[in-house]
C-alpha cells in the first residue's frame, strides 16, 4: 500500500449511518415488519449501528442478524486463499419482512448476489433493500444499493478500506493505491 487518503472520519461515518437510518424509516414508512441483516464481518457492525440509530429515532428495537456468505461465493472453487467459514445468526423469521441487507463496501456486486441466494434459503421476505457505507462503483452484476453512506469514484487500482471501532479499533474510511 502507498499513501492513504482519508475519505470519511468518525463523525462522517456516524452522520452517514444516522442518515441511512432516517432513510430506511422513511422508505418503509416506519419500522413495522422491518429487520436488518449484516454481511460478515463489518456489515454486521454497521447493521447494529443502524439499529441503534433507529432505536434513538423511533424508540423501537429492530431485529438484527448476521450472514456469512462464504458457502455461496461464486469463486469458492477459484479462491486462492481459503475463506474462513463463519457463523450465520438469523434467529428471527424473515418471511414477509422488509429486510435491509447491510455491507461496508459495494464493489462488483458479487457478495450481494451470494447474500441474496443465502437469504432466500431462510425464507421469502416481502422485500430486500440494500444499505452500504461506501459505494465504489465497478459493478459486474445488475445490483444497486437503496441506501448509500458515501459514493466514492475509484479505479480498479485503488483499494477502499473501511475501519470500524468494533473490528479495527478506529472509525475511518481510507482509499489507497494498491502496491
Amino acid at each position: 500500500m502507498k499513501e492513504k487518503v482519508k475519505i470519511l472520519d468518525q463523525e462522517g461515518i456516524n452522520r452517514a449511518i444516522m442518515r441511512i437510518a432516517h432513510e430506511i424509516i422513511e422508505k418503509n414508512k416506519g419500522t413495522v415488519d422491518l429487520c436488518i441483516v449484516g454481511i460478515r464481518n463489518r456489515g454486521v457492525f454497521i447493521a447494529k449501528r443502524i439499529a441503534e440509530c433507529i432505536k434513538k429515532i423511533e424508540n423501537i428495537d429492530v431485529p438484527v442478524g448476521a450472514l456469512d456468505i462464504t458457502l455461496y461465493r461464486d469463486d469458492l472453487a477459484l479462491a486462492s486463499g481459503q475463506p474462513l467459514v463463519r457463523k450465520t445468526e438469523i434467529d428471527f423469521d424473515i418471511n414477509n419482512q422488509n429486510l435491509v441487507l447491510v455491507d461496508d463496501v459495494l464493489y462488483t456486486g458479487r457478495t450481494i448476489r451470494a447474500a441474496l441466494d443465502a437469504l432466500i434459503d431462510f425464507g421469502r421476505p416481502k422485500s430486500i433493500q440494500l444499505a452500504v457505507l461506501v459505494d465504489r462503483g465497478h459493478r459486474e452484476l445488475p445490483i444497486r444499493a437503496d441506501f448509500v453512506g458515501k459514493n466514492i469514484p475509484t479505479s480498479h487500482k485503488e483499494a477502499v478500506e473501511v475501519h470500524l471501532q468494533e473490528s479495527d479499533g478506529s472509525d475511518e474510511v481510507l482509499i489507497a493505491e494498491k502496491a
Binding site: 458457502l71 455461496y72 481459503q82 467459514v85 434459503d121 431462510f122
Partner: protein, 310 residues
C-alpha cells in the same frame, strides 16, 4: 491457518491448529442444519463416494447427510454388492472411482492403514471413516466438538475413555486429538483390553473405574465389540457390566456434571445402563447431531485444500 491436506486420515497426523480449525469450521456449519432449507451450495457439482468395507449405518448416513447438506452428489458403494466380491483390489477400486471423476472417497475398512494406502495411490481426497483398530478421526472430532460445546474448552479437562481400548479406533483417535489439545486422558478397562504400549500415546491407564470417574469431567464409553472377539479376550458380558458398566450408582460418586458420551451403537446393560444412556448427563444424541457439522467441515476443508493445490 489454512488447510492444506487433501485427505483426513487420522488425528495423529494433524497439528493442534488443524484440529482447532476443523472444530471452529464445524461450529459455523452447525447452524445450516437448523434452517428450514438445510442446504448450502459449497460443494455443488462435487461427487462424494461412500466406500464401506464394513457394516455401518450411523457413520455412513452421517457422511451422506453431511455431503448432501453441502449440495454434493453422494454415491454409496457397499462391498457386498460390488466387484470387491470378485476379487478387485482396494487400489483398483479406488482408481476406478477416481476415473469416474469423483472428488472424495469416504472409506471404512477393516484393515488398519487402508485409508493411508488408498490416499497415497490417488489424487482425489480420501476421508477415513474408520480403518481397523487404527483411527476413526471424525468420531473423535465430533466427541471433542461435543465436549467443547458442553464444557467450553478442551484444555485441562480430565477425560476418561472406558471399555474395549484394545480394539478401538475411536479410543486411539480420541487420545491423539484430546492430548494434542491439552486434555488429560485416562483409558480405563480390564487389563486384557488395555493394549501394550498405549501409554506411549500420552494417555494414563487404569483398571479402577470408580477412582477414574471421581476425577473425570467427561467419560467416553466405548462399545464392547463382540463381533471382533476371537473367543478369548472378552470378559463375560454380565461380569463386565458389574465391573466396568456405567450405572447411576457409579455416576452418583462422580462429578455431578460429568458428561457421558458413547459413539454408538449402545449395548444397553453391558457398557452402560439404560438409565444412564437416557439420563441427564448423557449427550449421546447431541453427538449424532454434531457429527453432521463436523463431517461437513471435514468434507469442505479437504475439497478446498485440493482446489487450492490446482
Amino acid at each position: 491457518m489454512v488447510w492444506t491436506k487433501k485427505d483426513l486420515l487420522g488425528l495423529e497426523y494433524l497439528t493442534s491448529e488443524e484440529i482447532e480449525l476443523i472444530l471452529d469450521t464445524a461450529e459455523s456449519f452447525k447452524e445450516v442444519s437448523t434452517r428450514e432449507i438445510k442446504k448450502v451450495p459449497a460443494l455443488r457439482g462435487k461427487t462424494a463416494v461412500n466406500l464401506f468395507y464394513e457394516p455401518s449405518t450411523r457413520t455412513r448416513v452421517s457422511f451422506e447427510v453431511a455431503a448432501k447438506r453441502l449440495s454434493a452428489d453422494v454415491i454409496n458403494i457397499s462391498t457386498e454388492t460390488s466387484s470387491v466380491r470378485k476379487g478387485e483390489t482396494l487400489i483398483d477400486t479406488g482408481k476406478n472411482i477416481q476415473a469416474l471423476k469423483a472428488d472424495i472417497i469416504i472409506m471404512r475398512h477393516n484393515y488398519s492403514g487402508a485409508a493411508n494406502m488408498l490416499a497415497r495411490a490417488l489424487d482425489i481426497s480420501v476421508v477415513n471413516a474408520g480403518d481397523g483398530w487404527h483411527e476413526h478421526p471424525t468420531q473423535a472430532l465430533l466427541d471433542m466438538f461435543t465436549l467443547k460445546e458442553k464444557l467450553g474448552k478442551i484444555k485441562g479437562l480430565n477425560v476418561a475413555i472406558v471399555g474395549d481400548i484394545a480394539h478401538s479406533r475411536v479410543a486411539r483417535s480420541n487420545i491423539w486429538g484430546l492430548t494434542k489439545l491439552g486434555a488429560n486422558v485416562t483409558v480405563c478397562a480390564p487389563e486384557i483390553l488395555l493394549p501394550v504400549g498405549i501409554e506411549l500415546t500420552g494417555a494414563k491407564t487404569s483398571s479402577n473405574l470408580d477412582e477414574v470417574l471421581k476425577k473425570s469431567d467427561a467419560v467416553n464409553v466405548l462399545r464392547m465389540q463382540f463381533e471382533r472377539d476371537e473367543g478369548t479376550a472378552f470378559p463375560a458380558q454380565l461380569d463386565y457390566f458389574k465391573k466396568f458398566g456405567i450405572t447411576e450408582e457409579r455416576l452418583a460418586k462422580a462429578k455431578k456434571d460429568i458428561v457421558v458420551m458413547h459413539p454408538g451403537p449402545i449395548n444397553r446393560g453391558i457398557e452402560m445402563s439404560s438409565e444412564v444412556a437416557d439420563g441427564a448427563n448423557s449427550v449421546i444424541l447431541e453427538q449424532v447431531t454434531n457429527g453432521i457439522a463436523v463431517r461437513m467441515a471435514v468434507l469442505y476443508l479437504v475439497s478446498q485444500a485440493k482446489e487450492a493445490k490446482k
